[in-house]
Symmetry: C3
């Protein structure tokens, strides 16, 4: 009976964590919270013509939002980028001190092919400020938050810490995928989450 | 091995319950089952002008449906009402004898801010009948089903029983939030469920 | 402590499986993977006129896709067919050797009525090839994959194996429901999944 109680407690806690978006950590890159993809490299959709893409660099693909919303374990709910490397810039819900990022790919057991999963990745961040400020100006100030390798043999949502020495207030991050797991044609980004805390407002008296 | 079996049984049962809409109880207020929001107090959306809202009391906000559909643990999937108190009237899927209601808010661990969660709540019900009948006429007959306080320290879906003495056939309920957990501007209702049973038809011979 | 570890391991494994689309098996009939409903018997929607349906046999109901997408435990997320028997033809994501099929209905605990659940079912398959080929021609070649009875007392997603002797390359399957669990008016198909493996390409040197 004691064992049964132990087991039940563990199960309830794990299911609660699972229900809480799988990780139980607030995600400041979630589209429904107000975050937005504001730039990305050329999408892989079989229809875009490279030339037209290059002439209109500020265009955002409709599929871009997929990488900042839940996938619910379904294959295909990702944002595909052309080639073996690519990048995405995300304006967060609000300015935070980033503590970790989570990269999620489709689960091994339900995937048809995982060669398009990101492999080497770099996450950078900066304080961009109001939408009227040119993105290039902000990007000049960007600092490395974390660099990691997504491992196909581990669980499908992998969290990487931001070194405390690199933690400073940012409202925009850039996610660079510098290699994938073998696909010659594209990268699929299922979901990127950005965790951290909002700075406490100090009320001066 | 016996322990392992114990644990596995508990896990399977809990996951089954979790998959069954989290609670394993039929919800007669679910929008996909045919339930509808038929009236509500002024929504909080940053765009509505109070005056125009008041002139058109039968208008239903597009966001109203969010409170009678699943949230899947995602912040923001709620119906926001203006102010620290407000109400919603829901026509149920069919007439039932209500046994309990469940109020769900976003999980603590993924929330950015929970000051907009409902605190003191009152649920009333009545038999409204066909859509042609004026809602005011039905509301005059309404009876208290349950009164409760949503507790931010407990699990995010909280179920409250309807006292057996208050159980009678209803097809419409009114959900009043009389206070929230601190936000001066609004209330967020993630999901309200209404549980109960359909009366058995007695065939007369 | 050892017990606690045991329990935790089991829970984590089960939740991983649950998150991986509930079963942890790739589904080649999933709409987001590219699968499509290409024919079906008359839908039950309260609006279609039998005559007009019969005059236009190639018409696909908008609701047909619901049977090849996740239900997330919500009642009503199904494709309803008229009568106590009916069929659906699905073009799979790609040609596979089918190993099993899973039929899912809404969970007992959240259902209002399960008399529309399929009972006796037959799954057949064939190699249809390019979309330009007439479906009737392909259907003439179809072979039985499996025949089963959906049991309302078991778990809501029930998997049935394809006998190894019946396994051959198919890209299209036909799902026949020959009886339901009592409803005189219709059948509800929540989700049909088709599991198997893609043939390995042998590179000739
Ligand atoms: K996604
Ligand atoms: K909701
Ligand atoms: K479905």
């Amino acid at each position: 009976d004691e064992i049964r109680d132990f087991a039940r407690q563990i199960v309830e806690k794990e299911i609660e964590r699972h229900s809480a978006d799988g990780l139980g950590m607030a995600d400041y890159a979630l589209v429904s919270s107000g975050a937005r993809v504001v730039r990305h490299s050329e999408p892989h959709d079989g229809t875009s013509v490279s030339g037209s893409w290059l002439r209109n660099r500020n265009k955002i693909s409709f599929a871009a939002e997929k990488m900042i919303m839940p996938s619910f374990g379904e294959p295909g709910q990702c944002f595909p980028l052309k080639g073996r490397s690519g990048f995405v810039v995300i304006k967060l819900r609000t300015a935070i001190v980033p503590e970790a990022v989570t990269l999620e790919h489709v689960a091994k057991s339900v995937a048809y092919d995982r060669s398009s999963a990101p492999k080497h990745c770099i996450v950078s961040g900066w304080m961009q400020g109001p939408d009227s400020v040119d993105l290039e100006i902000g990007m000049n100030k960007m600092k490395l938050l974390t660099e990691f390798t997504y491992d196909l043999d581990k669980t499908n949502a992998q969290t990487f810490k931001v070194d405390p020495s690199a933690q400073s207030l940012v409202d925009t991050i850039r996610f660079d995928v510098t290699s994938n797991h073998g696909s010659p044609s594209h990268i699929c980004i299922y979901r990127l989450r950005v965790h951290g805390h909002e700075p406490k407002l100090e009320i001066q008296s």
